[in-house]
Symmetry: C2
Subunit: 340 residues, 2 copies
């Protein structure tokens, strides 16, 4: 089968890979209907994370089940399924508490590489959620978004305790930040401030529910958030970048007792203890337990109540994945959908 | 009047100070019935915080109202009152959300110095809670504890979401850590692990509800907590020290999705963003909004349901404050009560 391999920073190729098969009796193999390129794939692409030899790429996926192991009970061949970037048993104590991304048996899907024609999904019963009916072509991008960026933005909004009566600020205008705006709106937030300096992303943020735009960054951005919130700061701040500047911007833009939900994968971040202590904020985040939210998100997408698929502004055949990486790296695209 | 002044690290004297009077119409002046020495007073005493000229000391207090300003409505002359280490209006948006320590009009009582015969209390209506009747001598230490260390331990337990079904670990066996144990028990925690290597403090922790003791620190302490929690870590961890080691011990001892409540005043702490991100814990803390809990804590103390005053293992007249500082510095005393 064909699949994406990163050989070195900036060097992404679509090559022939061995077609996956069931290995463990709890596995399923799916034919990938759609995969995509994640903002986190850009870290190694840009050399900010090491590339230790050829790496299969991709951890977002929706598809149709081709084969199941002998112990798979709830997923059947022919099902259309959505999973997330961590395979999880969904039965351990950590999963039951809603932290499937830290399942005691978690498998990182990035190791498997879903930017490919087929993918092996470990712990299929726990990992995959089948749709009631096969989706239309228009519904596929939304389901793919649910698999990672929507689930991550949703978790960030939940971690930030977005809800009625709350003012939510969103640091980061990539797909996760934009879908954090959508999640905050769905959770009932009263005001949503997007921090963005790109007109196209501002427009999508407004479509998703943003009520104000702040173009300033860093201390100036914090000052603007304070101005918009009676000098107090936002109740809830979603952090969807992962840099020192974005984390401090998020913490400083939050009022005492408020909540920061941070989902940008941290890179070279160090939080000053004294400032954090006196900030009085709640801090919660990490790799989103997308599986917790999948049934609800799939339902919302299938009913047409939300359109998270709009974050995909470039669709390419799998064989043109390298162009997709370039487009995202150069910010010509927010999020690229790949069709094997 | 007599009051404690710190002139330099290790140099604490009881001297004649001007007797305070009402300055703002929202002030009250109290005759201090009991004050105490806080673990945080030891930071400047030990030279870990600067002493910029002579500093009045003390921020914990209970006493009887001597005088009130023209705009004080809910507090009357003759009331026995308990306050906390931040004066707060208790009406601003931040106070109403339960973060009175970050009131928009907050005044740090440490600037006023309550280790003295009298103290001016700003924002008396918001800051002070009057007891229904004057307490007995036996109840005074418990009320004084409520004013700071109990309120702080309680906030830490609430921030760590201690409750039924939860295993709570407590890092730090000073007065705040010990009262964090008591708070966790009162909040219904199922198991409470105190991290302590001092026999007397272990004994008090057990009296307050600890069900297990871990003597190891750092990585070894974390490993022991994991052993005691099925390899997962505690649901809730109270951090009551404020060092890099204690913060990392707290974060690492917490299971993914669990909660760290941290109240040790951070000194030279820097949290590694990557590790925090992948830990998946909730982090909340800071200067405790003791005022939020005072009515409930005063009620518990007056009814005799809890005995937080047992953390005071040395009582001295105000004039012997210097000996009190020495005793706490040398760990001969956990917590010193001063009687003006």
């Amino acid at each position: 089968m064909r699949g994406v391999i990163m050989h070195a920073p900036g060097d992404v190729r679509v090559e022939e890979r061995e077609r996956p098969a069931v290995v463990e009796p709890t596995d399923a193999v799916i034919r990938v209907t759609a995969a995509c390129i994640c903002g986190s794939d850009l870290w190694p692409y840009r050399g900010a994370e090491p590339v230790d030899g050829p790496m299969p790429m991709g951890h977002e996926y929706v598809g149709v089940v081709e084969e199941i192991g002998a112990e798979v009970r709830t997923i059947q061949v022919g099902d259309f399924v959505v999973g997330s970037f961590f395979a999880s048993d969904n039965t351990c104590e950590i999963c039951r508490a809603g932290y499937q991304s830290r399942c005691v048996h978690a498998v990182l899907m990035g190791q498997i590489g879903t930017q490919a024609e087929f993918a092996r999904i470990p712990l299929a019963d726990g990992t995959l959620v089948a749709t009631a009916t096969h989706p239309t072509a228009e519904q596929v991008p939304g389901l793919l978004a649910a698999s990672d960026v929507l689930g991550t933005g949703w978790f960030a909004a939940v971690a930030a305790e977005a809800g009625p009566g709350k003012t939510v600020a969103v640091v980061g205008d990539g797909a996760v930040g934009l879908l954090g705006v959508l999640a905050a709106r769905e959770l009932g937030a009263t005001s949503i401030i997007t921090m963005s300096r790109h007109a196209d992303r501002q427009a999508l943020a407004r479509r998703y529910g943003a009520t104000a735009v702040v173009e300033e960054r860093g201390d100036d951005g914090v000052a603007r958030i304070k101005e918009l919130t009676g000098g107090l700061g936002a109740h809830s701040v979603i952090e969807a970048v992962g840099t020192q500047e974005s984390m401090m911007q998020a913490i400083r833009a939050t009022r005492p007792g408020g909540h920061v939900g941070y989902v940008g994968v941290a890179h070279d971040v160090s939080l000053p203890g004294e400032e954090l202590f006196f900030s009085g904020v709640h801090l919660h985040g990490g790799p989103a337990p997308v599986r917790r939210f999948l049934p609800e998100l799939i339902d919302l997408v299938m009913k047409g109540g939300i359109d998270p698929g709009a974050v995909f502004d470039l669709t390419l055949p799998l064989d043109e994945a390298a162009e997709g990486y370039r487009a995202m790296d150069q910010r010509r695209a927010t999020k690229v959908l790949l069709t094997p």
